[in-house]
């Protein structure tokens, strides 16, 4: 292995790739288009109103109902009422992946009535407002709406002194939105698709056009060629990750972090799929059949590995299918590393991807030959 030759060959491969608009489209542009489409379709409720879950512990007293109708009148929240029987609202929100909640305490009506007396002797009512800091703008909208309704009551009842005081609290858990799954899913998509489509093509058309033979006439070795090729797809994976992270957070406010643990997936993942693509292309006798073999491998993985939807939403019979697809471990690991901050899961996934990458790379290096018989 001569790194000088790897470095000499790398730009030639990169140029060949970058000057082919189709390859560039598939690996960098297409995933961005997908995130824009899927993000737009699934992230917005469409009404423009922020869902707010309200638990009224004051038994629908006139004051509490009045307050809620004032809140409703702000037009920015859509209220859904839950029964006091659900218990602690914060826990309820967490269990049901809800981002915002409001608790109207028992005795709301009584306190407000006391405060409305000419000589008020009351302490302010505390409204518990739960929002999720990770939902950004939506948290602000909920807090603002509740504060606005409270100000109305304060002005009307007490000439401006505080009788209703919202207390802003964070809900205990992280709320994950579709876009948060979509970003790692599409990074996985990109890690899969750019090496698979082009390596299948490379290994079959280069064989047909005797380009491997041409390279074998130079001192560049197969190992050096493979290394430069791996490197290129790792670079592509990093660029694509930055693009998807950028678009995901800027356009849809995705809460995805580029943790250190994300990086090994962006190295090992492309190596795995370069090796699989090379094998698929070598197995075929013509570029056409190589394309078919490549698609047979790529498409099920593309849809069943949690790329567009979390595997947890799959029907139970489909889950084991996902678990045999190599891309599942890449995406599961990326989710663990970027969204859930659960390193333990990420390490296990990384180990699976690493073992697969080594196995496939070794087999590909064995099977894939430059010289002919």
């Amino acid at each position: 292995m001569n790194l000088r030759r790897v470095a000499a060959y790398f730009p030639a491969f990169a140029k060949g790739y970058l000057r082919n608009p189709l390859g560039l489209f598939m690996s960098l542009i297409f995933p961005v288009i997908l995130i824009l489409i899927f993000g737009a379709v699934f992230s917005n409720s469409g009404s423009g109103q922020v869902p707010l879950t309200v638990q009224n512990l004051d038994h629908n007293s006139p004051a509490s109902v009045g307050f809620l109708s004032a809140l409703n009148a702000t037009g920015v929240v859509s209220i859904s009422i839950v029964s006091p029987d659900v218990g602690n609202l914060s826990t309820y929100l967490a269990h049901n992946d809800l981002a915002a909640g409001l608790v109207i305490p028992a005795g709301f009506n009584t306190t407000l009535a006391a405060c409305a007396q000419p000589l008020p002797s009351c302490s302010p009512v505390r409204l518990l407002v739960f929002t999720n800091p990770s939902s950004g703008a939506e948290a602000g909208i909920v807090q603002g709406a509740v504060q606005g309704a409270a100000n109305g009551v304060n002005l009307h009842l007490a000439g401006g002194s505080v009788v209703v005081a919202p207390v802003n609290l964070n809900v205990g858990n992280q709320i994950y939105r579709y876009i948060d799954y979509l970003v790692p899913g599409l990074i996985g998509f990109s890690v899969l698709v750019s090496p698979m489509f082009s390596m299948v093509n490379v290994s079959s058309t280069w064989k047909r056009d005797k380009l491997f033979r041409q390279l074998s006439l130079t001192p560049l070795s197969r190992g050096e060629w493979l290394t430069a090729t791996f490197l290129w797809y790792v670079v592509l994976a990093f660029v694509s990750t930055l693009l998807l992270l950028g678009v995901g957070s800027a356009v849809f406010g995705a809460h995805v972090t580029l943790t250190l643990l994300t990086l090994p997936f962006l190295v090992v993942g492309p190596i795995l799929f370069v090796a699989i693509g090379l094998l698929a292309g070598s197995a075929a006798s013509t570029p056409e059949s190589a394309g078919v073999i490549g698609n047979i491998i790529t498409f099920p993985m593309m849809f069943l590995s949690g790329t567009f939807f979390p595997v947890s939403l799959f029907p139970s019979w489909l889950v084991p299918v996902a678990h045999v697809l190599p891309l599942f471990y890449v995406i599961d690991g990326l989710n663990a590393a970027m969204v859930f901050s659960s390193p333990a899961t990420a390490y296990v996934d990384l180990l699976v991807v690493l073992v697969l990458a080594i196995v496939f790379a070794v087999v590909a290096a064995r099977v894939f030959s430059w010289r002919e018989q």
Binding site: R4, Y9, G16, R19, K210, L217, T218, P219, Q373
Partner: protein, 312 residues
Amino acid sequence: MPACIEVSDLVKVYGSLRAVDGVTCEVRTGEVFAFLGPNGAGKTTTVEILEGLRPRTSGEVQVLGFDPWTQLDRLRTRIGVIPQDFHFFPKLTPREAIRLYASLFAVKVDVDELLARVELSDKADDYYDTLSGGQHQKLGVALALVNDPELCFLDEPTTGLDPRARRSIWDLIRRLRAEGRTVFLTTHYLEEAQQLSDRIAIINRGRIIASGAPAEIISRYGRPERLRIIGEAALAERLSALGFHVQPADGGIDVELRSKADALTILQTIASSGLRWERFSTQTDTLEDVFIQLVGRLEDGSLPEASAGGSP
């Protein structure tokens, strides 16, 4: 001159096909050696074995003193190869391609000079896939020369090229020879072999059926020189009566010349015969005539296989 390539009893078998069936030949340093044969004769298989691109089934091969299959790493830097049907990466330019090769071989190359040498200067920065077939071949030649090889292999370098592009590849090959490089050429164009080569081996069905300098091959396997006379058919009888070997030819007769003096006798005879004749010319076999005869005789079995030896 020392031998640059030595091949003895080379055999390559694909399944039941003996693509190369006992080839023995020697290429001398500094010469242009042509492997001439019809399509499917085993030319490319042989040359690819010599280039280290294919393993052989049996036989001995030494190229610049190395076994090309097992010692390709040491051979590679000293040979230049322009494969048959040369292809390169479609989205690289000739300049980039030469730079790539130079850095892979770790040699310094004057890119502009090399481009000029193969007449590609005006296409230096165009993508490979926009170049013509002739320009592709020229890039192939340029890449083969990046490492300043002492031995060049050209496998059917002009197949599919128009006459002008073919001439310019021929000029290149002549220059390679003038620069002191040894050239191993395969071709199915007889004219090409005759024009360019110092020595030729004619290969058919995996065997060499004749080898030597073009003139040697013609004199050894060709028919004797003939005098062609366009005129009355009765001329044939007159000349046959004098013991000449006469055969009918296009619009006239061919009379075999056993010596130069025969021509005078024949001309005197026909001049004094009173028979009508228009013109005469001498006929010599070209390499093509020899080739067609040799291959034909091999096909009908009248030439024992591999009977034709090369000059030592």
